[in-house]
Amino acid sequence: MSLLEINNLVTSFKTEQGKVQAVRGISFSVEAGEIVGVVGESGSGKSQSMYSLMGLLSDNGVIEDGSMIFDGHEISPAKFEGTQTEWEKYMEDIRGNTISMIFQDPMSFLNPVLNIEKQLCEPLIYHKNIKDKAELHKMAVELLTQVGIPSPEERLKQYPHQLSGGMRQRVIIAIALACHPKMIIADEPTTALDVTIQAKILELIKKQRDRLGAGVILITHDLGVVASTCDRVNIMYGGKIVETGTADEIFYNGMHPYTQGLLSCVNNPEAEDHKLRPIPGSPPDLLAPPAGCPFVDRCEHAMKVCKLYPAPETRLSETHKVNCWLTEKGKI
């Protein structure tokens, strides 16, 4: 059984303008010890699907359908065995403990008035019930050493604003690792960082995955980040997963026009005389998403059927699946 299995997750938000259908039925799984990429543009629903999983949706958000099974337990609020309060309690126990999250903006996650040691020890006290001060301190030092922060003893006494962006992100990772999670969700962990720091942080995430054997979900819009880290990749567009496969399948045999478009518009400075071929237009407005394929309005191969009906799933290999009408074209 997989570590995490998400089936047909549907999440929407009520706004003054109407219902925003952020996540429109996505399914994927994560095994222990693998890094799964979720790639999509802003507004593709990639972050909201993770917030749904963690029970962190804002007040106007609601999970309408679907099941999420983590470590053998159903954790979607509608299907959870127990009351709303029991579910909330259960999620609180999971968060920061067996599932932890790394955020895009470390500054908004760290508490500016607590020093690093307090913030590092918080999950240990709360989830592992460790009270001994000396032991906590030893563990905090060890955690900082693991994420490659030099002179950890001094850093523990510092406050978030005294650290650089890269350092803060390392602290966030240290906090995420504190309770030896079974799964780590990294939401654009390097978007706010410089490329040199980004490379270091990605190395660190991989190293910790190897050490803990945890499953990792890496949310990003950058295919370069995916190529250097992920084992499997889900390509998300307009609230749906349009293609899924191993990294090699996606990069060398990507079938969906959106996947291909993403690859050809990425700067690959290695390629000889690389001409950028951008995807025209903008992502669909999820207040009124297209009835058929979400990518239809920007797709160069768009057909009449694409506008009318959602594309069926085609299985290209054990791991490689794509939702596109082009695969059906020859069959008629």
Binding site: E203, A247, C265, P278
Partner: protein, 324 residues
């Protein structure tokens, strides 16, 4: 350079920082002695990590900040001395595109008002109606629809907003545009749109760019020449292909080897990045070569003498490794 449209001559931009009333006045050396030229119809790329002073340099060039020392020449004129009509002409011809598409548009103005504003300021075209026509035309140039004219910026996505921002600068038919990280806040699929759009209008309107970014990959694509900046100084300038194929300065090498490439097999073979530590504070620039604290090849001389830019092949590099 024969036909340089812009010449930056030993520019230093410092900001006074007061830690306390009694402490000695400290200076944040954002730009520390930078010189380069940009030719007509050329794109000069400027790369470096955040905090290296590249945005400050860009803002000094459009005269948001005045340089502490040194001069900026636009078409041979010292921009620090421009006044009245000459300044107005400079403001019309030299424009800037900003990084954050959410902060660079006035949220209380409609898209039409935003794009029309520069024409109102400079009294271009005879009537309001002609300006309105020009606005629709500009919207079309950047790939938006004329009926977007009455909408407000918050209704658009990041990429659409950046295109609105480009349309606004184009309203004045500029000759030189400083692009201050125009794509780093955007999604990858949208970045390519913006780069292609910038290239298209460069050819159509004969514009020169100073293209600032922290991502060498994007800069390489659009620029003819690239300068790499570290802690306020240029450490290397070269033809973009040459700089990419054959980087000289250890910092440029590190920047290049950190670019993630969308090819899993290449990435699996890639060695770990050979660059430790983080960029020091510009309040406390290391003596000698600013990069020596992180440089894998640092030598004793690096701590003592600040290397000057010198020509090596077709590039210029500031590094003691290439001392003659």
């Amino acid at each position: 350079m024969q036909n340089a449209i812009l010449k930056v001559d030993h520019v230093k931009t410092y900001f006074p920082v007061s830690t306390s009333i009694f402490a000695k006045k400290q200076y944040l050396k954002a730009v520390n002695d930078v010189s380069f030229e940009v030719g007509e119809h050329e794109t000069f790329g400027l790369v470096g990590e955040s905090g290296c002073g590249k945005s400050t340099l860009g803002r000094t060039i459009v005269r948001i900040y005045d340089p502490t020392e040194g001069k900026v020449f636009y078409k041979g004129q010292d921009i620090g001395r421009l006044k009245g009509d000459e300044l107005k002409k400079f403001r019309k011809e030299v424009q800037m595109i900003f990084q954050d598409p959410y902060a660079s548009l006035n949220a209380r103005m409609t898209v039409g008002e935003i794009i029309r504003e520069p024409m109102d300021i400079h009294h271009l075209y005879g009537s309001k109606q002609e300006r309105e026509e020009r606005v629709s035309q500009l919207l079309e140039t950047v790939g938006l629809k004329p009926d977007h004219i009455r909408r407000y910026p918050h209704e658009f996505s990041g990429g659409q907003r950046q295109r609105i921002s480009i349309a606004r600068t184009l309203a004045l038919d500029p000759k030189f545009i400083v692009c201050d990280e125009p794509i780093s806040a955007l999604d990858v699929s949208i970045q390519a749109q913006i780069i292609n759009l910038l290239e298209k209008i460069q050819d159509e309107m004969n514009i020169s760019y100073l293209f600032i970014a922290h991502d060498l990959g994007a800069v390489k694509h659009i620029s003819q020449r690239i300068g790499a900046m570290y802690l306020g100084s240029l450490v290397e300038i070269g033809e973009s292909e040459e700089l990419y194929r054959n980087p000289l300065h250890p910092y440029t090498k590190a920047l290049l080897s950190a670019i993630p490439i969308p090819d899993p097999q290449v990435m699996r073979k890639r060695a770990a990045l050979d660059l430790d530590g983080e960029i020091p504070s510009p309040l406390n620039v290391p003596t000698g070569c600013a990069f020596r604290t992180r440089c894998p090849k640092a030598m004793p001389v690096c701590a003592e003498v600040k290397p000057e830019l010198q020509t090596v092949g077709t590039s210029q590099v500031a590094c003691h490794l290439y001392a003659k």
